[in-house]
């Protein structure tokens, strides 16, 4: 069954600093979206706000999951409803292994019926294999002392294990070497299907060669200013954001100017 995530005229601020100025975006399961845009334009803010990070405050607009407003739902409820955010900067949690953490997270989805250990182990091993990760990684403390690239892989491991409907991937490609990038792409592509959608935030067209999107959005100045197909990303790679801005006649200052 198709599920719909709708963002309507979303305005968001953090510490009284307005960041998003009316974002509109609709994502259905079965679709792959990419969001690109200059630094400091509000991409992470959008992803974090959808996920329910209490640091960000919605001043206007709505986030609807199959028509249900998520505004009053806490982050954990949103996760259990099928949202997932691979974070730009995942936290380190020494004291719990990735494996135990994952089992707790799976069981949080149906506490009355905990997953059987053999089933969990076989799913975990399959996911580890797919991502070329060793069993040792899953028995290390969650992200503790992990390199940047290892953390990103661990986010995708969680994605595979938790099987969300909507995965927001915030710069999942940053800091990855080319082999790791292929592995991560393999993980995301394995999730593809009618029950799954992703919104990938990235700075690099290269990621989109491996995870081909259906739709590409460009964000600037706290809004989505252009939407197109995979060609839009290729075009941007050649021309840059300043050029697009001028094309659209937008009055936005870019960080690098």
């Amino acid at each position: 069954m198709m599920t719909k995530l709708e963002i309507k005229n979303l305005k968001v601020e953090a510490d009284n600093h307005p960041i998003l100025h009316g974002v509109n975006l609709t994502v259905n399961t079965g679709e792959m979206h990419a969001i690109m845009g200059p630094n400091g334009t509000g991409k992470s803010t959008l992803a974090e706000t959808i996920m329910g990070n209490p640091h960000y405050h919605i001043t206007d607009g709505q986030i609807l999951l199959d028509g249900v407003d998520l505004a009053t739902k806490k982050v954990d409820e949103r996760a259990r409803a099928g949202l997932f955010l691979a974070m730009q900067y995942p936290a380190e949690i020494p004291g719990i292994t990735t494996a135990n953490f994952l089992r707790a997270a799976i069981n949080a989805r149906h506490p009355e019926q905990p997953i059987a250990i053999p089933k969990f182990m076989s799913e975990l091993n399959n996911a580890l294999d797919l991502l070329d990760m060793s069993q040792k990684t899953a028995n290390r403390y969650l992200n503790a002392g992990f390199s940047g690239g290892e953390k990103k892989r661990n986010e995708i491991l969680q994605l595979l294990m938790l099987k969300p409907k909507f995965a927001l991937l915030d710069e999942i490609d940053s800091g990855l070497d080319i082999d790791a990038l292929k592995v991560v792409a393999k993980g995301v592509n394995a999730m593809r299907g009618p029950e799954f959608a992703t919104v990938m935030i990235t700075h690099y067209q290269r990621l989109l060669d491996y995870i081909v999107p259906d739709v590409v959005h460009v964000m600037m100045g706290g809004r989505i200013v252009k939407t197109g197909g995979p060609d839009l990303a290729k075009h941007l790679e050649k021309t840059g954001y300043a050029c697009l801005r001028d094309e659209l006649g937008l009055d936005i200052e870019l960080v690098d100017e």
Partner: protein, 360 residues
């Protein structure tokens, strides 16, 4: 001499109900395990009905006006004696497990004496009944000997416990002492270590968990009385709503104890604004050529970590429990591996509730 109630840890203990520890005594069930190796090597591992007056005098001198200590010795009925002769290296931990079997206060005593160049591990599991317990003990570690002591306190709700335990170390002796206070109830404890011989060293770690209406006061003291002695005190406590915990760490370095190194770290994690915690580092140094360091903190859960865990669908309660474990991990990891570590882990899971990520 005016006797007084214990007044460690800057705590006002009037409300703790510690006076109950002077009520009629409970019968004790004391179980010893893994004796054979020690007995074959000419040692002692037994329950006795008295202790020598020298031991009593020495112990009471460390706090002569302490009314609870006095009551303990007056009412003493049973004591566990462990004597390891010189040059004996035990491979299996000596296990002491005791609990009151009748209503009333449990009055427990132990003496551990480790001979020169010997090696042993002692694991003490103590339970309290409805009233509470006194756990008083002496530890002596001979020259070049190595002793590991772990105490696991499993108390029932409403219990009170009072600890007063002293350790003395000779030249190059090493003590690794762990105290896990994760049962329910009120606990007041003083753990004193005297490094009397050159090169003696002590690692002392305490871990505690306090929930609603529970009070914990732990004071860990190390005295450096000889050159090149080293110590590390590591205390971590987690507090939930309406709980109270006070951690004192005291390092004393005498004049002449050159080359001594005293390190201490006391940290408290408050899970609710209504919890009250204090971590007091105290260093008293009377010698120039030494190293000493202390860290103390009273903090809340890291919101970024909490958010990360919850973003995977864990409830706030489960996420906080994970962060409690994470916070206690540096201390838990220094417990002797094996059954006691598992038992502590299991007990933590029980006390924390919610989904226990470490339970199968």
């Amino acid at each position: 001499m005016k006797m007084h109630t214990p007044r460690y840890a800057q705590m006002k203990t009037a409300k703790w109900g510690l006076h109950a520890l002077r009520t009629p005594l409970a019968d004790l069930a004391i179980q010893l395990a893994n004796q054979d190796e020690l007995l074959q090597n000419g040692g002692t591992f037994a329950v006795a009905d008295h202790i020598s007056s020298d031991v009593e005098t020495a112990h009471r001198q460390t706090d002569p006006e302490n009314a609870y200590l006095a009551a303990h010795f007056e009412q003493l009925t049973q004591t566990v004696q462990i004597e390891v002769p010189d040059q004996v290296q035990l491979t299996k931990p000596l296990l002491v497990d005791w609990q009151p079997t009748t209503p009333g206060n449990g009055n427990f005593h132990f003496s551990i004496r480790l001979g020169k160049n010997s090696r042993a591990t002692v694991i003490i599991t103590q339970k309290a009944g409805a009233i509470g317990l006194n756990s008083i003990g002496e530890i002596a570690v001979g020259a070049d000997a190595q002793l590991e002591v772990a105490e696991l306190n499993l108390f029932d709700h409403g219990s009170r416990a009072y600890f007063h335990q002293n350790a003395n170390l000779d030249r190059n002796a090493a003590l690794n002492w762990s105290i896990a206070q994760i049962g329910t109830g009120n606990v007041l404890g003083e753990f004193n270590t005297e490094l009397n011989g050159t090169g003696a060293s002590a690692n002392i770690q305490a871990v505690s968990l306090a929930k609603k209406d529970e009070h914990i006061g732990l004071q860990t003291t190390v005295g450096h009385h000889a050159p090149h002695t080293t110590s590390r005190i590591l205390q971590h406590g987690a507090l939930f709503a309406q709980a109270e915990t006070n951690l004192n760490a005291i390092g004393k370095i005498d004049h002449g104890a050159h080359g001594a190194d005293a390190q201490q770290e006391s940290r408290l994690l408050l899970l609710d604004p209504s919890a009250q915690g204090n971590a007091n580092p105290i260093l008293l140094i009377d010698e120039n050529d030494v190293q000493a360091g202390h860290a103390a903190s009273v903090g809340q859960v890291d919101l970024q970590q909490l958010y990360y865990l919850m973003s995977r669908g864990l409830t706030k309660e489960t996420a906080e429990n994970i962060l409690v474990r994470s916070f206690l991990a540096p201390v838990l990891s220094s417990l002797p591996a094996g059954p006691i570590a598992d038992q502590v882990d299991h007990l933590l899971g029980q006390r924390l509730g919610g989904i226990d990520p470490n339970e199968a």
